[in-house]
Symmetry: C2
Subunit: 218 residues, 2 copies
Amino acid sequence: MSSLLQNKESLRVPEPTLRRLPWYLSNVKLLKQKGERFVSSTQISKEINIDASQIAKDLSYVNISGRTRVGYEIDTLIAVLEDFLGFTNLHKAFLFGVGSLGGALLHDSGLRHFGLEIVAAFDVNPLLVGSKLNGIPIFHTDDFPRKMQEYDVNIGVLTVPIEIAQQITDYMVEGGIKAVWNFTPFRIRVPESIVVQNTSLYAHLAVMFNRLNYNEIK
Amino acid sequence: MSSLLQNKESLRVPEPTLRRLPWYLSNVKLLKQKGERFVSSTQISKEINIDASQIAKDLSYVNISGRTRVGYEIDTLIAVLEDFLGFTNLHKAFLFGVGSLGGALLHDSGLRHFGLEIVAAFDVNPLLVGSKLNGIPIFHTDDFPRKMQEYDVNIGVLTVPIEIAQQITDYMVEGGIKAVWNFTPFRIRVPESIVVQNTSLYAHLAVMFNRLNYNEIK
């Protein structure tokens, strides 16, 4: 029982590690293109300026072991990392709010390569409801509970105006959504069992503008 | 001299603060829509579940003072926050790489409301060069140095394939770009004077998938 709990805990990878692993993946993909077959954490370290010991520690979460002197086999490392990060398994999602950003995300078919497929979108705008964007159908928001029966979806992408961000989140959760990818600058509240991933492009812009401003004064 | 340095240092706002300020802004905008005229940090605290003392500390970076008992005047707070975060001042940017994500960002006119205007994009694809997307002209990558003379731009949005992420970054910096908004999962290197803002949608997906997986096993 205790070892079962331990196994379960080992599944919860620290967020900083999860954020660094895609860096290693992209770096190793590049080495593969250059014709390399093996890579060590020291090599990755030199390329991306992160401690080799940190890289080895991060990779210890992933089910792969390196060989002394030669390091990790690149093909295996890529396959194992992509699988571990969830990029090989297509997760279906609904998108809520086909405004400027929502529409932009529907255009981004590249998300499929990283495991996310937006299968349908919801809005109340009569000019949008019933149409398709990049092949993705747009339904009326009222149809969401019915569409949950039809599609095998557990992720909701939130791109609505801030005024209704909380309301639509509640509606999603009530309908059975288990994870909300929140692109609004609004801090949504959810029950403890629901995953929230905040991606605020605007907060990132604020940081970038501040640093730029700071450098200009220097 | 020492006070000048101090003023200069006070411009460098901590990143966690800069990430929280847009939350306060969106929250206060919502209160305004509800007809409120004043707001206290305690009120914001209740809404978004962050310590009132933390909120007061974050707002101390912004040039605004609350009044005892009534708190901050909402109209002033919105105006001062938007200005402080750089959202009222339109920053011009070039985008590099009109693939799936790059094209999606060109469609997102909403970035303008947060101070970013993508004025032109660059690619080498002959099917794209010379055309426009959402009214934004696409030029050949070779034309970038010339276009730098023409437009008043200091931000570059990086949405190229990882194989050329570093090369295009070097090219941007050489051409005079001062801040790179990096959407690739590649960890780019830049001289110390250049600002890099990483926004890896894929890293965010990895975190979300991991947490979802963890909850499903629970």
